[in-house]
């Protein structure tokens, strides 16, 4: 699977205005609904589910990245987006460090295999120091899309 099969590039937020975890989750979900990847009416329910998921266990897995994700009945087709937080956001990450890059992933219910494959490609790339560093330094949507293209070609 490739990143661009599920990352909705029009929904990428190169500079989040949010300064807290919950605001950032809302901003990214709103961006996906604005891009037409989600019904507007589903935004509140999905944000609530993402917040509940974070409270259950942070998806800030360390190294400045968080991968909030949830399966939700309102999601028809798997959709993801990326947000950059240049000043860092507290995600109560496992390594207690602030999060600078958020990769958000929404999956339909009853498709666990597809969800695991998407998580596989996200983390395979996030493991790479260069990918993480470039993502953190990319200040425009176009640069982030270019980085995703390169990552997808390298796979």
């Amino acid at each position: 699977m490739k990143l661009k099969e599920f990352i909705v590039t029009e929904a990428i937020v190169p500079e989040l205005s949010a300064t807290s975890r919950d605001e950032a989750l809302r901003e990214l979900v709103l961006s996906l609904s604005s891009a037409g990847a989600l019904p507007d009416a589903a935004v509140d329910g999905i944000v609530a589910a993402l917040i509940a998921r974070e409270k259950d266990g942070s998806t800030g897995f360390g190294k400045g990245v968080a991968v909030p994700h949830v399966k939700h009945a309102a999601v028809r087709k798997m959709a993801g987006t990326i947000g950059r937080a240049p000043t860092g956001i507290d995600f109560t990450a496992l390594d207690h460090q602030p999060v600078f890059t958020i990769v958000l992933l929404l999956s339909p219910e009853n498709q666990p295999q597809q969800h695991l494959q998407a998580m596989n490609v996200v983390f395979s790339n996030l493991q790479k120091d260069m990918f993480r560093r470039f993502l953190r330094q990319s200040t425009s949507r176009a640069t982030i899309i270019e980085l995703l293209d390169e990552a997808d070609q390298g796979k």
Binding site: D56, G57, T59, F61, G62, V67, H69, L94, P112, Q113, H115, L116, Q117, M119, N120, F123, S124, L126, Q127
Partner: protein, 93 residues
């Protein structure tokens, strides 16, 4: 140093997603032994059992055979506890 390994099969319906991966890592971290989890097949991968990211990269779906291996003075106990998590389906269905 003893090395102990055990073959298991992922049996919970959602597979080894983030929550069970974290539960596995939490348990692995209670032991001194080095822990690895390997997957064979078309896309073989060996994950550090103490890294959540690497455990998620395994993308082990229901029915996937995995090998848990521990190296160290508490290897036997580590493998026993870790295999038990899979037997208990991580508290899922």
């Amino acid at each position: 140093m003893p090395t102990v390994s055990r073959d298991i099969i992922v049996s919970n319906s959602l597979g080894l997603h983030a929550r069970p991966a974290m539960q596995f890592v939490d348990t692995a971290n209670r032991f001194h032994s080095k822990v690895t989890v390997s997957k064979g097949g078309e896309e073989p991968y060996e994950a550090d059992g103490k890294s959540v990211m690497q455990m998620i990269i395994l993308a082990a779906t229901q029915g996937t055979p995995l090998q848990i291996k521990a190296d160290g003075d508490d290897a036997e106990a580590a493998v026993k506890s870790l295999a038990q998590l899979f037997a208990d389906k991580f508290g899922e269905e």
